[in-house]
């Protein structure tokens, strides 16, 4: 197969790609045999506990560490000022969004703490328990400053400033106005406008954030073990902050116990931990406990939006208008910024539909709450909810079936490539096919009949749908154009081992998605190997080629393509050696199951062990002019489009107790088109896990702050996440529209579940409440809020 030959790939005999093969590393994990960052111990390892600001906004007058230093086991007490002596300040900026304001930040607060939970001092001790004990002895004199928590208040002219050097607290503003607004105004017969509220919530990976740093004075190298999705991003950040060369920093991501975006960001306290290792020249470790996770992990969503759809009386959609406001905390999160959650709402709302006009405004405000960052499906759950809740609301008003109104307005499957009014290019989506498949999968007509019958008996069930578009396989437009040192490229190297097995090193990472499995399946088919003979290395900057890592649903699509290209080259190289040994042209040979076969006869000629034996130990058997290539590389950056979009449809079926406001989820369905499926088991589980997190946001999860900026439910006792008891069965079906932006044709699937589930669930609640003329546009839709929406509570 030539490097860029899609048709040759399509003719490959696929025995791995597309098959529901079990993940090779799942067996190990099922024995509990894992090594997460908290499990790693090093000789002489010291432990760090951070003193975190108890106030949302306060000036640090003084820090007296003398008593703490005298405590048992304490080695050092360090403040923000101590670290500022060696750390360059950092700020999260995107060059292509010059309106995005950024403020300089240090690893720990120096003068002013700007959110509850911001680290201001660190105790280094022999054990974590002793470090925590000494926190009580640390004397900090604070001057509490007025906290600004509400983004509306933050943007008022007389609001206290979060950053004194800025004229106001407006972090970012963007506006879009496209299409023929005059024509839309003339044609509009119905406008549906609603105020939406999306609470802040957070990712809650079960393994909390964790990092170890150790400076090797002999090699003059810093080694960092970190629970992260993006080891090379940490390397770049450390280089920028501490003035070391990137290649002198090794970052290792061992097993990672979930991330979902939480471990995508460069956290100030983790940079502080590395600074402490550089200052003390001793290995140090920080493992966040659950209470500090809630106040120091990134939060997400947290938007108030007024949105409107304009339609004709027959349910034809004309225009959409969105005005979104969000508080992003005191900083844009380094280095990716905090703008995407909002900007993707601005560009993606209503995007499954044909629109004649679009108008949108986004405002982001600085405030004294935990910083907001990229959590699974960034912006999508909000964008999809706006369009999907409004279209079902409109359907109720014009008395159309929710399926029928969508069929009327969805972009037709034969009109691609399609460009939205907001400038997104969709290569090839399949909304209508997915909707048809969904209707069949869930037996929609039967559910409607059943719903009608049950209503007569006072049982209120709801059916809610949601169209989903997901941004995947990002090219350089996501970060590179903004001059952020986050790579859109991924690389893969494959080498022949002396025993005939192969080792693959690749720059994407695995937090449970099954990256190891997917990459192994691609290589096995393209190189013609047994998957069991491929050992895959990820998550170690010293051992894998440079690359972006796993974010933005790009692991399978971008990393998989790099693997495909490396595997194609590897196969060519092996066939060249085999051809020389067999005195036949490489074109006469093929690789299958780790052996070289004659194309014509299908006869097995040689296996990789024999090739390795000759190449490494008996090279005199090869022609003198052949210096064989025993390792191969493949690299890929998705350059055809800004992003590669996927689509799908979801539906939720639930029962509402109109007396208590409790929702019982009965079943959930999803039809997903993520292009070429490498392993349906993995895609299905990405969908289901994503849907669970979307349901969490729809019904349960909320970071509740009081007016002074104190998080009042910051523990897993008080912050609710979905348990097995509330989750319904989730049925998955697939439509496959491979992308032509790569040979492999795979798009991402990591975020679509989370993107669509909240809209489907809220639509189902609104459908259940329809007999009462009630609707809710607030997430999470708690029982209390549902009862209020129904007018059954004060």
């Amino acid at each position: 197969m030539a490097g860029d030959d899609i048709s040759a790939f399509a003719q490959l005999q696929m025995t791995h790609i597309g098959k529901p093969l079990p993940r090779p590393n799942a067996e190990r994990l099922s024995r509990g045999a894992a090594r997460y960052t908290p499990d790693i111990d090093l000789p002489g390892l010291l432990h760090v506990a951070f003193l975190r600001s108890p106030y949302a906004h306060a000036r640090i007058i003084s820090i007296d560490g003398s008593s703490a230093l005298a405590c048992e086991g304490v080695i050092a007490v360090l403040t923000g000022a101590d670290l500022a002596t060696i750390a360059r300040p950092f700020e999260a900026k995107l060059d292509h969004l010059p309106k995005l304001k950024a403020a300089k930040q240090y690893p720990m607060a120096v003068d002013v703490a700007r959110h509850q939970g911001e680290a201001v001092a660190a105790i280094v001790a022999a054990t974590r328990a002793l470090a925590e004990d000494a926190l009580d002895a640390l004397r900090v004199e604070w001057e509490e400053l007025p906290a600004v928590t509400d983004p509306v208040r933050a943007l008022e002219a007389d609001a206290p400033l979060i950053h004194a050097q800025m004229p106001d607290n407006l972090a970012f503003i963007a506006e879009i106005k496209q299409g023929d607004h005059a024509a839309v105004e003339a044609a509009t017969q119905l406008s549906v406008q609603r105020d939406f509220t999306f609470a802040r919530h957070t990712g809650v990976p079960l393994e909390p954030r964790a990092i170890i740093a150790t400076f090797d004075a002999i090699e003059d190298r810093l080694t960092v073990y970190q629970s992260t999705q993006t080891p090379f991003q940490t390397q770049a950040a450390l280089s920028a902050m501490y003035g070391m060369r990137e290649s002198d920093i090794r970052v290792v991501a061992p097993d990672v116990g979930g991330s979902f975006g939480v471990k995508l960001h460069t956290y100030a306290d983790e940079m502080a931990l590395c600074g402490i290792a550089l200052l003390l020249k001793r290995p140090v470790k920080f493992v966040s406990d659950r209470l500090e996770s809630f106040v120091s992990d990134i939060h997400a969503r947290g938007q108030s939006v007024t949105a409107r759809m304009d339609l004709t009386a027959d349910g034809t959609l004309l225009a959409m208008n969105v005005d979104a406001l969000s508080g992003i905390g005191p900083w844009s999160v380094y280095p990716r910024t905090s703008v995407l959650e909002g900007s993707q709402v601005l560009t993606m709302s209503g995007c499954p539909y044909q629109l004649r006009a679009y108008e949108g405004r986004l405002r982001l405000a600085f405030q004294n709450k935990a910083p907001m960052g990229a959590y699974r499906a960034v912006g999508h759950p909000i964008a999809m909810a706006l369009g999907e809740l409004l279209i079902e609301s409109a359907a109720r008003q014009v008395k159309m079936d929710p399926v029928a109104i969508r069929r009327r307005n969805l972009v037709p499957d034969d009109s691609y490539p399609f460009r939205t009014l907001t400038g997104l290019r969709f290569e090839a989506l399949s909304h209508h096919r997915c909707l048809d498949r969904l209707v069949e999968l869930m037996d929609y007509e039967r559910l409607r009949r059943e719903q009608k019958e049950l209503r007569q008996k006072g049982v209120y069930r709801g059916i809610g749908l949601a169209a989903v578009v997901e941004l995947t396989n990002p090219g350089p437009a996501l970060y590179s154009v903004g001059n952020v040192r986050v790579s859109a490229q991924d690389g893969c190297q494959i080498r022949l081992e002396p025993d005939g097995r192969v080792t693959c090193a690749i720059s994407i990472t695995d937090q449970g998605q099954g990256s190891f499995a997917a990459i192994g399946q691609v290589i096995a088919d393209v190189a013609g190997l047994n998957q069991a003979d491929i050992r895959i290395i990820m998550g170690d900057t010293a051992h894998v080629p440079y690359g972006g890592g796993t974010y933005g649903s790009r692991g399978a699509g971008v990393g998989g393509e790099a693997a495909l290209r490396a595997a194609a080259a590897f196969r060519q190289n092996m066939l060249s050696i085999a051809g020389a040994l067999l005195q036949t042209g490489p074109d006469e040979l093929e690789m299958r199951e780790g052996a070289v076969m004659s194309k014509g006869s299908g006869q097995r000629q040689l296996d990789l062990r024999a090739i390795a034996d000759v190449a490494y130990f008996k090279p005199d058997q090869l022609p003198k002019d052949l210096q064989p290539l025993l390792s191969s590389s493949g690299h890929f950056t998705q350059l055809t489009d800004t992003f590669v979009f996927t689509n799908g449809f979801q539906a939720s079926h639930l029962e509402l107790d109109i007396e208590t406001g409790f929702v019982r989820l009965l079943e959930h369905w999803a039809v997903e088109d993520c292009g070429r499926i490498i392993n349906p088991l993995l895609v299905g589980e990405q969908m289901r896990g994503g849907i669970a997190q979307g349901i969490g946001g729809a019904l349960l999860e909320e970071c509740v702050y009081d007016e002074s900026g104190q998080l009042v439910n910051g523990s897993l006792v008080d912050y609710l996440t979905p348990s097995s008891a509330i989750m319904p069965d989730i049925r998955i079906a697939h439509i496959e529209t491979p992308t032509k932006t790569s040979i492999l044709g795979a798009k991402g699937a990591g975020e679509a579940g989370t993107a669509g589930a909240p809209a489907a669930v809220l639509n189902a609640i609104n459908d259940a409440m329809a007999p009462f003329g009630a609707e809710i546009f607030q997430m999470p839709a708690t029982p209390e809020r549902i009862l209020r929406a129904m007018g059954r509570l004060g």
Partner: protein, 164 residues
């Protein structure tokens, strides 16, 4: 801080150690370094990640002090490998684990559940596992794996009876 002597039977082997009275059992076992299946997450008794077995019952390792386990029989997944072999295979087959962090505790809880209630249906399995959080899977595949194992064990047991 004073330490207390603690002795217990750990995965069938008598061990002795010392622990601060405030140290919970999960940390005591985790810090030994040879039991990678022991994890902590919320340390509040909510998420279930640290679940292990004491005197045959699955308990929260973060809600029991190490000194309270003195003289007890303590088992972790490492010591339950044989008993959970079929369940682990089902988890792999159904891809009922992703990051793996919750998995050891989930397996012990599921094993106890279908041992006590071999006829548990999907709803009963969902209720029985509701004290063990998984953030990755959405639970469907876990319920599939546990249901399939319970069914296989019932069939197997039935075969045994028929054979006698």
């Amino acid at each position: 801080m004073t330490h207390a002597r603690v002795s217990m039977t750990l995965n069938g082997v008598r061990i002795e150690g010392s622990a601060e009275p405030r140290m919970h059992l999960a940390d005591f076992l985790r810090l030994r370094g040879d039991l990678p299946s022991i994890r902590v997450s919320c340390e509040y008794g909510v998420c279930g990640c640290c679940s292990l077995m004491v005197d045959g019952l699955v308990v929260r390792g973060c809600l029991l002090l190490a000194v309270q386990a003195d003289g007890r029989d303590v088992r972790t997944l490492e010591g339950m490998a044989e008993q959970t072999q079929d369940l682990r295979a089902a988890f792999v087959e159904h891809n009922a684990l992703q990051c793996g962090y919750c998995t050891p505790a989930m397996l012990l809880t599921a094993h106890e559940l279908i041992t006590v209630a071999p006829d548990a249906d999907r709803d009963a399995i969902r209720d029985g596992l509701s004290g063990n959080y998984c953030r990755c899977t959405g639970y469907h595949a876990i319920v599939d794996a546990v249901e399939a194992t319970a069914q296989a064990r019932r069939t197997h047991k039935g075969d045994d009876h028929d054979g006698r």
